[in-house]
């Protein structure tokens, strides 16, 4: 028997021999081996992740320092598979002694320990990118940073020691004050050399930056592609988003393990104090209620709370009604900025945005925003394109695993005059943008690609989508109606000439006079028709309700363009009239746009 034979030949390991090979694994080493968890699965994705981490950090830093971000991203191709990625910002810079920690240590940062809405969350990103570069090319990371006009800039070259999770400084140069790296006298430059692959299209660096520009209309981004083309994403708003407030965790948002950890670390000595100080929405009364629910009192010493008591406390938290966490900690992009961002990057004719009031999942406040762009130069035959964002960061991978994708699919787009195959995305010239703002975005994995599917989140998404969809529906129905009206007008005008000549041939009546008289009637008829009511019984005037809606933008220029392409240019006698109407429309469009800005 082969199995028996194998057994015989096997050496038996003892506890001792095994102990010899058992040692600590550093976090860096773990990620070096499991780089796909952080989004470095393949060379193409690695490039994207590196740019993404650097850009996220830069934008976070700028905003926190109250600076309008201006970023410059360059992808320099050194070799077929080797690239140098340089990201420069005009942010506050980094103090010299922190440079090693930030860029050379995994899990180091300011963002993990707080409950605050920001792009980065764990503090893994940029150092992991540097580590990936080092592993694939052997080249260290270069950082140049300057913190102010009268400060020198430091150029530091770093290597990451994966076994010690510590940075090793290769070189450290101090440049004089008047260097030329930073036109605004402050900022950071990160340069990473890595093995990558550049490809345009979906899930590319190009797409990422384009979408970043949409969600961050206050940022100016300059992008130099490997082909040495410069693409500018100009700033569309001169106003920084409000700064997000930091909040304490909500009792319902934590798990038992976290609770125990918090009990160990707290500075409070009594249970009541702990609950009031370390959590939000817990006052004296609520603290007492929670403690008593767990068979303790507010005066119970924290050090006396063991595992069993903590478990009771956890259960008591779950059973008690606690006010939802404050939501002023959330900074949505805002309908106006959403529209500005989309308007800048998507050539469509109709834009609508909706911002939902904040809501809560698992004790974490969050807020959904949706914007849609329709028509114009978007392709008619394709499925809708979904742009997903979490705290203003574009999500490019794993669309179908994302809660937002499911929300779009389960929304009934047919109600809004769009086609939608069963169980699929709607089809039509439409771009759907979904943004989730939260102090803690629940991603399905560490590489932050898809939003986890919580019922509360999906419901808010759907409500926001429906709000935008309704506006689109109104617009589309109105457009259809207007098309019908112009058709009707042209029908009458087309036949009047024939009728006038026929009557002239039969009775000898003056054809020109009759033509003029009939034309007058036709114009009157269709003017009445323009005043007719739409499906919902409201008078159709130009613009209608949508014109007064500040969350909607309609570009009539692109709209008429589409109508002309559909081709009814050969209208008898209607040409002059139609042109006049178009001009009038353009005028109103321009004025309304101005008013909006």
């Amino acid at each position: 028997m082969p199995v028996a034979a194998k057994k015989k030949s096997r050496k038996k390991a003892t506890a001792e021999s095994m102990a010899a090979s058992q040692r600590e694994i550093s976090v860096s080493e773990f990620f070096a081996k499991n780089r796909h968890l952080l989004g470095f699965d393949n060379p193409r994705k690695a490039m994207l992740t590196t740019v993404k981490e650097a850009v996220d950090n830069a934008l976070d830093a700028c905003e926190e320092a109250g600076i309008l971000p201006a970023l410059k991203i360059q992808l320099l191709q050194l070799d077929e598979t080797r690239f140098k990625i340089t990201v420069q910002d005009n942010g506050p810079g980094i103090v010299r002694k922190q440079i090693e920690n930030i860029f050379g240590k995994l899990l180091y940062g300011s963002k993990f320990h707080r409950m605050k809405m920001s792009r980065g969350q764990q503090g893994i990103g940029i150092s992991a990118a540097g580590m990936y570069g080092l592993m694939t090319t052997g080249k260290p990371v270069k950082i140049i940073s300057k913190t102010g006009p009268r400060k020198p800039s430091h150029e530091v070259v770093l290597k990451i020691d994966t076994s010690k999770n510590k940075a090793e400084v290769v070189s450290d140069t101090e440049h004089p004050e008047d260097d030329k790296f930073f036109p605004e006298n402050r900022g950071t430059i990160v340069a990473i050399e890595l093995e990558g692959k550049y490809q345009k299209g979906r899930q590319s660096v190009d797409e990422y930056l384009e979408q970043t520009a949409i969600a961050n209309p206050h940022a100016a981004i300059t992008y130099i592609t490997p082909a040495n083309e410069t693409i500018e994403f100009p700033r569309a708003m001169d106003q920084l988003p409000e700064e997000a407030k930091e909040i304490k965790p909500h009792p319902k948002g934590i798990e038992l393990g976290t609770l125990i950890q918090m009990l160990e670390r707290t500075e409070a000595r009594q249970l009541g104090g702990f609950l009031q100080k370390d959590f939000c929405r817990v006052g004296q009364q609520k603290a007492r209620q929670l403690a008593e629910g767990a068979g303790m009192t507010a005066r119970t010493w924290v050090k006396n709370v063991g595992h069993a008591e903590a478990e009771k406390l956890y259960k008591s938290i779950q059973d008690t009604r606690i006010t939802s966490p404050p939501t002023d900690c959330l900074v949505p992009i805002g309908s106006k900025a959403l529209l500005a961002g989309l308007l800048k990057e998507v050539k469509a004719e109709f834009f609508a945005a909706a911002t939902r009031p904040p809501a809560v999942y698992r004790g974490n406040p969050f807020q959904m925003e949706v914007a849609i762009a329709y028509g114009g130069e978007l392709k008619v035959e394709e499925s809708a394109r979904i742009l997903r964002f979490a705290n203003r960061v574009p999500l490019l991978y794993q669309q179908s695993a994302c809660s937002s994708f499911k929300a779009v699919v389960e929304t009934g787009w047919k109600n809004y005059s769009l086609q939608q195959p069963r169980g699929a995305l709607p089809v039509g010239p439409i771009v759907i943008m979904i943004h989730m703002a939260s102090v803690w975005v629940p991603f399905t994995s560490e590489s932050k690609e898809a939003i986890a599917d919580y019922d509360e989140i999906r419901k808010e998404m759907r409500l926001a989508l429906q709000e935008c969809g309704r506006k689109l529906g109104i617009y589309l129905r109105r457009r259809q109606r207007m098309k019908k009206e112009s058709e009707r007008r042209s029908i009458f005008e087309r036949y009047i000439g024939e009728i006038a000549t026929a009557c002239n041939a039969i009775t000898g009546v003056d054809a020109k006079k009759l033509y003029a008289a009939l034309q007058k009637q036709a114009a009157k008829k269709t003017a009445e028709a323009d005043q007719m009511l739409d499906d919902e019984g409201k008078i159709i005037d130009d613009g209608g309700r949508l014109a007064k809606d500040s969350d909607v933008i309609i570009l009539e220029d692109l709209q008429t363009k589409a109508a002309e392409e559909s081709g009814d240019e050969d209208l008898f006698g209607g040409a002059t009239l139609k042109r006049r109407r178009k001009k009038a429309k353009k005028k109103t469009a321009r004025t309304t746009k101005k008013a909006k800005r």
Binding site: E487, R488, I491, F492, R494, Y495, I496, G497, E498, I499, A500, A502, C503, A505, I506, T507, V509, K513, L514, A517, L518, K520, Q521, A522, K525, D570, L571, F572, G573
Partner: protein, 398 residues
């Protein structure tokens, strides 16, 4: 368009009656008659166009009233035993998206037929279509997309003017054949229908007294068969000679010319009309149209319908009576069955027991039979045995 339009048809019908009377008297001078009728038609067309022009100039909506040619606007005149058109009309308006094009077409055809009248020429339906066909100025749209469009509008024009197609100087493609013991004059040419060879006399689309006059008639009845295949059988066997009759055929549903000719043979010469049609709902409906008039041309029933026409066969019971082979049976399909029930429900069939029994039998059989099925018995069974037997027994359905 208020009273003007409605007045026009009334005026027209009186005009027609007088012309008919004169037609009988001065039959030989065909030209004079049609001129008088042309005048009336001309007048009607002018009234129509004048109404449109006057409305247009005065800032009113130009409309044309068109009598409805639908089942709902049909009346069964029990006394006269014909279908008549009701009083319902539909308004065709220029300023209605759905009607604007048809409105334009109506006027175009009015203009076209006026030109024809003035030139004293006639055109076929297809000719009329081409005459009014052009591209509308400044567009890529044609005035008519196909002949079908112009045909229906022309029918609308007929009813709204109260004039006939032939009065508008338009005729349909001719269909139908005749042989028999009769001599006629067709537009001045004398035609002896006893000497028509194998092809027969092609019945023209217009069979008005101004075109066709009956000269010498020895025939005692008319036998109308459904199709020319059967008609050829009778002609080859010289059936009309042996039985002293006239033999006609209408290629399925008989066109206006054939119906008008049969009507005149019946009314003017007093000849009984016997129909030999297929044993199926479609054959029954052909008989119904010959006898009572059609829904589409209800306004002409008085000049077309022959309430005394008789149905000779073939009958549902002939399968057993003539001992036909099972091969001739054609199963009734769903549509046949619904159609048969509809026909049984027509008011002019409803009260007739024999017809109710006939249709019941047809449905009970579950199959239909063509006249040609009698050929399975013998090539000349239908001419030598079947029809003579029916005639002798006076075995007809009424």
């Amino acid at each position: 368009m208020p009273p003007r339009k409605k007045a026009a048809p009334r005026k027209k019908s009186t005009a027609r009656k007088t012309t008919k009377k004169t037609a009988k008297k001065t039959a030989r001078k065909a030209g004079a008659v049609s001129k008088e009728r042309d005048k009336a038609t001309n007048r009607a067309i002018e009234l129509l166009a004048d109404g449109v022009a006057r409305d247009g100039l005065k800032g009113r909506e130009p409309n044309v009233e068109i009598p409805l040619r639908t089942v709902t606007n049909m009346k069964w005149n029990k006394r006269k035993r014909i279908l008549e058109m009701g009083d319902s009309t539909q308004t065709r308006s220029l300023f209605n998206v759905g009607q604007a094009r048809k409105f334009m077409q109506t006027l175009l055809l009015a203009k076209g037929s006026r030109e024809l009248i003035r030139a004293e020429k006639t055109l076929s339906l297809r000719g009329m279509y081409y005459m009014s066909l052009h591209t509308i100025e400044g567009t890529k749209e044609k005035t008519f997309n196909d002949q079908g469009e112009s045909d229906t509008v022309l029918e609308d024009l007929e009813v709204s003017l109260g004039g006939l197609r032939e009065e508008l100087h338009v005729f349909a493609k001719k269909r139908g054949t005749m042989v028999g013991n009769i001599t006629i004059e067709d537009n001045g040419d004398e035609i002896d229908c006893r000497r028509m060879g194998t092809g027969g006399y092609a019945i023209p689309s217009i069979c008005e007294p101004s075109v066709i006059q009956f000269k010498k008639c020895d025939a005692k009845f008319v036998l109308h068969v459904e199709k020319d295949t059967v008609w050829s059988r009778f002609n080859e066997d010289r059936f009309w000679e042996t039985h002293n009759c006239i033999l006609t055929e209408g290629s399925g549903q008989p066109p206006r010319g054939v119906r008008r000719l049969l009507h005149r043979l019946n009314k003017e010469l007093g000849l009984p009309i016997y129909c030999l049609l297929d044993c199926d709902p479609w054959g029954h409906y052909i008989y119904s149209v010959i006898k009572q008039g059609s829904i589409n041309l209800a306004f002409e029933s008085e000049r077309m319908a022959i309430p005394d026409a008789k149905f000779m066969g073939i009958r549902a019971m002939d399968y057993d009576r003539c001992d036909l082979s099972p091969d001739v049976r054609i199963a009734l399909n769903e549509r046949d069955i619904t159609r048969a029930r509809q026909i049984a429900d027509y008011p002019w069939f409803k009260d007739k027991r024999p017809w109710q029994r006939e249709i019941k039998k047809l449905l009970a059989n579950g199959f239909k039979m063509e006249v040609e099925s009698l050929i399975t018995k013998d090539i000349s069974y239908v001419t030598e045995e079947y029809v003579p037997a029916r005639l002798k027994a006076k075995d007809f359905l009424d």
